[in-house]
Symmetry: C2
Subunit: 308 residues, 2 copies
């Protein structure tokens, strides 16, 4: 089943302890699409300037991604430059230029409006609402946001939440949105405002899915080398929604597997600069890491099992 | 099978957002024992001053804990006072008075020397070595340490590591000991110096066990109220070693379960001040939470299973 993603299509300049990359393709829409398209058909809506190296996205169209919703505007593409600390525990933003992204008004092509799964990347909640107004009847709306909108557009965001099935944010964002440091409390606060499910991403510490009356936890995959953390959260979202769309189900067992696919894609994202790891990643490698997660988390307990 | 634990027997004054407790029983030896004794027989070696309310430990002797190795010395008991921040993300030490603990020289009673499992609480590595010199042939030595010894007694600590089977430290300690920010790299560094297994505790984010060629991850249990985080790490150790001793096995499947028992006990520790939660905790509650961990982490995957 098809996924519609609305998000940024950017150029990133990144410095990590392992090297640097200059004006490589990035942005939440691109990271999400690179990961999700390995699992399900993806349609991307975004905007680029006339400086964007569109041929760098060819590997996505070759994989069946529909990029006809990526608008070309006059001006400069969204640009972000950042530098990570030596231990990757923090990063400084060196430069952000919104360029054509500043005036972005998502227009959903007619052919995209029947998409069964909608991923609203981290943009102005007013625009996220406008996206939903253009859609027919998606099976699930999955939504990201960030501190900038939580502080500056809280009313629109709370309005948006009523129409969101799954809010997917990091731990700091969940706490800030709910005004509750306790994650469980924060998730409950959010669930009372619309989303049936809340996925809280915790970076290297993994992610938690809060369901109506159950939780599922997936760890981060311990890697010897984290080459570039940029985009890991968006790749997580791509893996999660990608699996959900591929099985077209929101049953708890499928959502649990979706969480694992999310963490698998997040772990692959950080192995290279930009979306490079997703150019060559194949099904066998994905399944191999899913199996590693299973080995890393499963345990048996006799009394528990006999109790049912 | 019996566990010998050598650790601090202290008085704590604690302030948390939920209240305060004045001169309540605490210390690594006490938290470890309170948790482990719910699963296996425990013998405690430590020292208290003449101000210690020994009757507060009666619930342990009633449970079969052997406290004859707790020495009574003239002077003041080890005292720690601390205050947690409103979101529990940090704590300030208001006061530490070592008292009789400053001159503590662990003497292992003859009847304790055949203990099959030895837990070396966080004390001077020189003393930890002296404890091992007094033991016959334990099946496993599990060892904790902290930044103070990593900085000030590195040589003795590295010497000690050669005789340790399982090093159990928090993430910051593992990184500091190995001089490697990457947890996997830090664990490998430690394993090259003796311990077959390394357990890295990450507080609310859970814990990872690094085996020779496998890993196991257990999350922290999401709680709506964390009443007092003091002693959670020691209770984790108590649950881990307690389960290991109760099944008298170090097979991977048993170690995985031991990790879960560790996280279960850590989660119960923080529900009350001091060791209060362990006074009433029963087998049914322990198993219930083990089952909750199973529900929170297990997933099935068809292709993985047919491959495996």
């Amino acid at each position: 089943m098809s996924i519609l993603v609305v998000g940024s299509v950017a150029l990133d300049s990144v410095e990590t302890p392992f090297g640097s990359a200059d004006r490589v393709i990035g942005g939440s829409g691109v990271f999400f699409t690179a990961a999700a398209s390995l699992l399900a058909p993806v349609r991307l809506v975004g905007v680029v300037g006339d400086d964007y190296p569109l041929e760098k996205l060819d590997f996505l169209t070759e994989r069946g991604v529909d990029l006809s919703g990526v608008e070309r505007a006059e001006g400069e593409s969204f640009f972000w430059a950042g530098r990570y600390s030596h231990d990757l525990s923090s990063r400084d933003t060196l430069e952000t230029r919104l360029g054509v992204f500043a005036d972005f008004k998502p227009r959903i092509p007619e052919a995209y409006r029947d998409s069964r799964y909608v991923f609203l990347g981290n943009i102005d909640p007013v625009l996220q609402l406008e996206v939903l107004d253009q859609m027919r009847e998606p099976a699930a709306v999955i939504c990201d946001t960030m501190n900038y909108w939580i502080e500056g557009s809280r009313d629109a965001l709370v309005e948006l939440l009523k129409r969101v099935d799954i809010l997917m944010v990091n731990d700091a964002e969940a706490r800030q949105l709910a005004g509750d440091h306790n994650l469980l409390g924060a998730a409950r606060w959010i669930q009372e405002r619309g989303p049936r499910l809340v996925v809280v991403k915790k970076g290297e510490h993994g992610a938690i899915l809060f369901g109506p009356d159950w939780m599922f936890f997936v760890p981060g995959f311990p890697l010897e080398v984290i080459f570039d953390p940029t985009g890991a959260g968006d790749a997580f979202a791509g893996g999660f929604v990608g699996h959900m769309a591929s099985v077209d189900s929101q049953e708890p067992d499928d959502l649990r597997r979706a969480m694992v696919y999310g963490s698998v894609m997040g772990s692959y994202a950080v192995e290279s600069f930009s979306v490079d790891r997703f150019r060559s990643l194949d099904e066998k490698e994905i399944l191999h890491r899913v199996m590693q997660f299973k080995q890393m988390t499963s345990f048996e307990h006799q009394l528990v099992e006999s109790d049912g």
